[in-house]
Symmetry: D2
């Protein structure tokens, strides 16, 4: 992942795009790309173009890497911290086999 | 990243949530979480709650990891492939310092 | 608006697209189109293509009209009801000149 | 619809919120609310809370009305113009009973 992160950051640096990458613009970009990802499933949930899904998913995570970099946080760390928080919101005994939101558990 | 991925997948498995995680539902979840991330910047681009941004960003990437796992693809690989593709769409000499979309370059 | 609604519904009926328009698929479509609308502001908040913004905005509301129709609700009615609810969440004396969410007022 | 539009605009004016409602911020708000609408269908396409769907849909269109107002365009007009454009992209004989995007017709 370190190599991927370095490649993503270098891609941006080579093009002098850092000037456009405010946290707000990166958040917008993640939302835009997640809309394109969703478009792969717009009219049919089960019959999708896997290659296209992978490209759009890559775009989402590409911007996520840039946002973490911009905020000077480690993506792995914040995911592990959120999992810890979620494990309290969703204790196994209450949430097993259950898709309800924690506010309704 | 392998450790993080294992933790994310285990979290889901412990709760028997795999049954809800169709690719389409995961794509919806990524879009939903990216909306929550965007909410951190709704009325103000520059003045954001960094801790909240990190939590929402973690949620986005958490679902991205699950979607890659569900599709049996390696997240790092698809990002590197997309970077390769993007480097053709956005050659340095044309796109340097320029935020135009490749269709307008 | 009644005329517009009739035109939107007729467009769909002429193409026999009602079969694709489950409430869930229409909700996805609204999210997808709102991502395209957001793209008009991706790298620059103030310098946008007004014509393009109008097209994407029209797409969002087009699907909103179809979703209201599918749910057999009147779009005007549900907006007025939500305004009523919001006026309790955001009383003028507390929210005037203030962009805080009601949970923080 | 004119009455609804007047009520939506008055709600904002009463709270002096116009200062927050740049076109970019309204586009973000539409994307955020469309994520909340999508959340009604996150894990289950067919079993949704209709009342909640209506509230989130109202929020989406509420911001759409504000954006049209901010841009000084008539929402009905831009929808009719977009339908006209779409009818060329999707001629009945090619698109009937078919959910393909116009680029693939």
């Amino acid at each position: 992942m370190e190599q991927v992160k370095a490649a993503v950051v270098k891609f941006t640096k080579d093009r002098d795009w850092d000037q456009f990458h405010s946290p707000a613009n990166l958040a917008k970009s993640i939302a835009i790309e997640s809309g394109e990802l969703l478009e792969c499933f717009q009219w049919n949930d089960g019959n999708y173009d896997k290659e296209q899904v992978c490209k759009e998913l890559a775009d989402v995570v590409n911007y996520a890497i840039l946002l973490a970099d911009k905020l000077n946080v480690n993506l792995e760390d914040i995911i592990m911290e959120k999992l810890e928080e979620n494990s309290k919101k969703y204790p196994v005994n209450k949430s097993k086999g259950n898709s309800k939101k924690y506010t309704e558990l």
